[in-house]
Amino acid sequence: MPVITYRDALNQALREEMQRDDRVFIMGEEVGVYQGAYKVSKGLLQEFGEMRVVDTPITELGFAGVGVGAAMVGLRPIIEFMTWNFALLALDQVVNSAAKMLYMSGGQYNIPIVFRGPNGAALQLSAQHSQAWESWLAHIPGLKVVAPGTPYDAKGLLKSAVRDDNPVVVLEGEMLYNTKGEVPEDEYLIPIGKASVKREGEHCSIITFGKMVLVALQAADQLAKEGIMVDVVDLMSLRPIDTETIVASIHKTNRAVVLEEGWELSGIGAQIVDIIQREAFDDLDAPVLRVHQADTPMPYAKNLEKAAKPDAQKMIAAVKKVMYLA
């Protein structure tokens, strides 16, 4: 099976879906002539032309709304945000227009749109460029939210997102674009709303998603050397959440740590803990712990940034704690 980058997997998904359906177009800052701020849309302008690969002014609110309007009358826009930090300016359109249109029109206008781009921190970009917005977005009924952590998942989920007749948010990662993995040549789709178990183990569950899947797998490798076998549940979809897979894992391990990139308060992890206490209370042998970003804006200095971010070491410590080994 070919091994390709996460970036190329997304690029393949975009190209295949644009070839398949003429109504699909991509719009955003630097997606065309510049070939994408992170080169995810590389080559698309040359293949599909400027009506379908549209460079916009720096107007997140405006072009997100343009996408929603186009979706109301039959097109299938893919709106690229250079990063989700900037998408904050577009949140009115994502939430008030895209997510609610179907409901407030009594079922008349569904919005088949994809909002995608990198989410969360990269390296030393400091406070305004290092934010993980998943709990904000997953909060909204009417949106679907996916956060793929591997090239395989990125391609399959993005293709499903483009075909979905609802608005779908795709959370990628600057630090993920260069990571590699196996991606088959034959077409495949990954259903939205299903988690995947990335590694099997019986001692403790790590429940995570997106960029943190790699951190969880690193931690799992090291823990394995000490004889601790963890189950790594990759949620992949944050709305809807695959409760069944979470509960099955807890049933097997009786312990869990939830790992996420964002802040603690009202984070995705809080929701996962709620699901666990309601659906798997009797399976638990220890309180569920959470690993997340420090409760501060992201600092610039290398040492402070490292201290703020969740990482494999923090993950290992948390697993040992729920196993009463530390």
Partner: protein
């Protein structure tokens, strides 16, 4: 400010007379409909925010009268009149206002969110300025498909101070999209007068920033609105050039049902002065002068539209509340697209 009234020859054709009768009927229907809305609100049959269009009828009626059925209309929360002018059923609109199952949005939207997919009426939107980029997107889709439709977008003058307006108009002019942006300048955004919110008073001039054609129009004269709109639609349809129309009008009621009509931010004298140019009276007077309309005609028309409104009220009142199961319906559709290449591209 106001464009000169068109010099229609006294011997204008019977077609023109018929058109004027149609426009008058639509304006009167909206007026009587909304008077009953105010009554229903007082009775608690309509709740939430309810923004009346009384005084502004010529704007929606005149502008929409120029459109084809396959064109698109989108507006703000003050859209009852536009919905009716587009041809939405008074029954479905009243039932929506009453929060009933037979409402155009199944009772989920209310006064601010009227939609009708069959008429390309793309809604009532509640965030000031938020729908202006949507109109640009509709224009983009028309151009993408190579169509010759037009999108008409209504919003109040307060919306021109926000970012969404500027972003949307810049892109429409940059990409040459077939959209008519229509400011309903009724002088106040809630209680804030235009001069207290905008650095310039002639807000049509904002179009100059985007090299966009623009025009100031007398919004109490339905014929003047129609004619300006015809010019704008012609540009949009044949050349894909967007236009900004500043249509000067006045609302005769409060901002919504919960504030005083006058006394706080505007005087009673000012209100009374503006009410002298009631759009219905303006057209009616013109028709009478032409010898094509009598007081008896007016009485008969009034009876007719009142009966339509009465029927709408009775229909809405009899319509059931939405079923409780519907609470969770229409949050998502459960479909995906596996359309073959080329599907639905043709306009």
């Amino acid at each position: 400010m106001a464009k000169k009234k068109p010099d229609l020859a006294p011997s204008s054709s019977s077609n023109d007379a018929q058109l004027r009768r149609d426009l008058l009927r639509q304006m009167l229907l909206i007026r009587r409909f909304e008077e009953r809305c105010a009554e229903a609100y007082a009775l608690g049959k309509i709740g939430g925010f309810c923004h009346l269009y009384i005084g502004q009828e010529a704007v929606g009626v005149g502008a929409i009268s120029v459109l084809r059925p396959d064109d698109y209309v989108i507006g703000s929360y003050r859209e009852h009149g536009q919905a009716l002018a587009r041809g939405m059923s008074p029954r479905a609109v009243m039932a929506e206002l009453f929060g009933r199952a037979d409402g155009c949005s199944k009772g989920k939207g209310g006064s601010m969110h009227l939609f009708d997919r069959n008429l390309n009426f793309l809604g009532g939107h509640g965030i000031v300025g938020g729908h202006i980029p949507l109109a640009t997107g509709v224009g983009f889709a028309i151009k993408y498909r190579g169509g010759d439709q037009v999108c008409l977008c209504f919003f109040g003058e307060a919306a021109v101070n926000g970012g969404a307006f500027h972003e949307a108009l810049n892109m429409a002019a940059l990409w040459k999209l077939p959209v008519v942006y229509l400011i309903e300048n009724n002088r106040y955004g809630m209680g804030t007068a235009l001069e207290r919110a905008s650095a310039i008073n002639d807000i049509a001039e904002r179009a100059c920033s985007y090299d966009m054609p623009n025009e100031v129009v007398d919004g109490q004269d339905v014929i003047a609105v129609r004619e300006a709109m015809q010019r704008a639609v012609q540009r949009a349809r044949s050349e894909h050039i967007p236009t900004l129309l500043e249509v000067r009008t006045y609302r005769f009621m409060g901002h919504s049902m919960s504030d005083a009509v006058s006394g706080t931010y505007r005087t009673k004298e000012e209100l009374e002065e503006y009410m002298k140019r009631d759009p219905i009276t303006v057209l009616r007077t013109d028709m009478t002068k032409r010898g094509e309309w009598t007081d008896d005609d007016m009485t008969a028309l009034d009876e007719e539209v009142k009966a339509v409104v009465e029927d709408a009220w009775n229909f809405a009142d009899a319509s059931p509340e939405p079923a409780l199961e519907s609470l969770y319906e229409d949050v998502y559709v459960d479909t995906t697209s596996d359309a073959p290449v080329g599907a639905e591209i043709a306009s």
